[in-house]
């Protein structure tokens, strides 16, 4: 599996988590992701994902006038989005636990 494929589902969850922190617009969202260390992907990647999440009613948008001039789309979580985020957190905890166990075990054995 390539890095991008593996990332897809995880990215969805991360977007939901960042949006949960508070209403954001596209550029802000990309910057926040970057500040968490997601620097390897191109910033535009978030838009197709946001579109799909909007279609699946995980996020809603409100259009607000920005100080700079153009109207901006702000994203926030729906109830369904909150639920999906909780489910993702559980899945991720389980997955990272299992992965860590395997990796750790491997390295532990190596040390012995």
């Amino acid at each position: 599996m390539s890095q991008t494929q593996m990332l897809k589902g995880i990215l969805d969850g991360c977007l939901l988590a960042v949006i949960q922190e508070g209403e954001v617009y596209g550029y802000e969202l990309a910057e926040k992701l970057e500040s968490y260390g997601f620097e390897f992907m191109s910033e535009g990647t978030i838009y197709p994902l946001l579109m799909r999440m909007q279609k699946e009613k995980l996020v809603t948008t409100t259009s607000k006038k920005s100080t700079a001039g153009p109207r901006r789309k702000y994203y926030s979580l729906t109830e369904k989005g909150e639920e999906e985020l909780e489910a993702f957190k559980k899945r991720w905890a389980q997955l990272s636990l299992s992965v860590n166990r395997i990796i750790k075990k491997g390295s532990d054995q190596g040390e012995k």
């Binding site: 596209g26 910033e43 535009g44 990647t45 838009y47 197709p48 799909r52 279609k55 001039g69 153009p70």
Partner: protein, 253 residues
């Protein structure tokens, strides 16, 4: 506002717009994502980022990704295409009706619609191609040149071949038929301009056929008519496109 964007970002936005339009996406959806990306690119450029950091290595792949998430606008098939066919039909037939030359062979009956559809297809393919490829300027001009010349050659060619091979006439419309056709065509143009909220559907046929109709009322010889008609129509078209382009620019500002 657009002027703040760098050339490469502007190019990307324009190509994206074209790509999505030629992919038959909804106008509102296109406007939404274009505005969002414009805003993003502007913010990014303020901080010295290049268009690649946003779009990635392959703009084409990115455009496809966006396109995949957008739903197809069915009104292209249910609304725009029938309107185009109706308009093209009225346009083609009106000239013949005015000249009382409404006789058609089987070859013409099949050929005219076929050429129209082929032309439409060629226009669509060209724009679709240009949205995701950047040929050199001369290549682009050549493409548009071929595109513009194609229908003229095809129609004239068909007409010529039709005469040369003495195709039997299958439909012949008489004087009453002519009058009915002309009124019908005018009704179609009025309907189209109301539907499209644009004067273009009335103005363009007026430029095309107006001078001919007026000249017919005078007693000038056929040759002089033909000589006057062509430049008047050409100037009419140029004036129309010049004025509407200017208006469009004003609206954009």
């Amino acid at each position: 506002m657009k002027n703040e964007l760098s050339k490469s970002s502007q190019d990307f936005i324009e190509n994206l717009q074209l790509y999505l339009v030629t992919s038959g996406k909804k106008e509102d959806d296109i406007e939404d994502i274009v505005q969002e990306l414009e805003d993003h690119l502007m913010e990014a450029e303020k901080r010295g980022k290049s268009v690649e950091t946003i779009v990635g290595q392959s703009p084409k792949a990115y455009m496809e990704q966006l396109s995949n998430e957008m739903s197809f606008d069915k009104s292209w098939i249910t609304k725009y295409l029938p309107m185009f066919i109706l308009g093209a039909f009225a346009y083609l037939v009106l000239g013949d009706a005015i000249r009382s030359e409404m006789t058609y062979s089987l070859l013409q009956l099949i050929g005219y619609p076929l050429i129209s559809i082929l032309f439409l297809l060629a226009v669509w393919l060209t724009f679709k191609y240009l949205a995701s490829h950047t040929p050199p300027k001369w290549g682009e001009r050549l493409l548009f040149g071929i595109l513009a010349v194609f229908p003229i050659f095809a129609f004239v060619g068909l007409l010529f071949f039709n005469r040369q091979s003495n195709q039997p006439v299958v439909i012949e419309v008489g004087q009453t038929g002519n009058t009915i056709t002309i009124s019908l065509c005018i009704l179609i143009f009025i309907f189209l301009s109301l539907w499209g909220k644009s004067w273009a559907f009335i103005i363009l046929p007026l430029i095309m056929f107006g001078p001919e109709l007026l000249l017919d009322k005078t007693s000038i010889t056929e040759e002089t008519k033909a000589i006057i008609n062509l430049p008047v129509t050409t100037i009419g078209f140029l004036a129309y496109f010049f004025i509407s382009a200017k208006r469009h620019k004003k609206q954009a500002l």
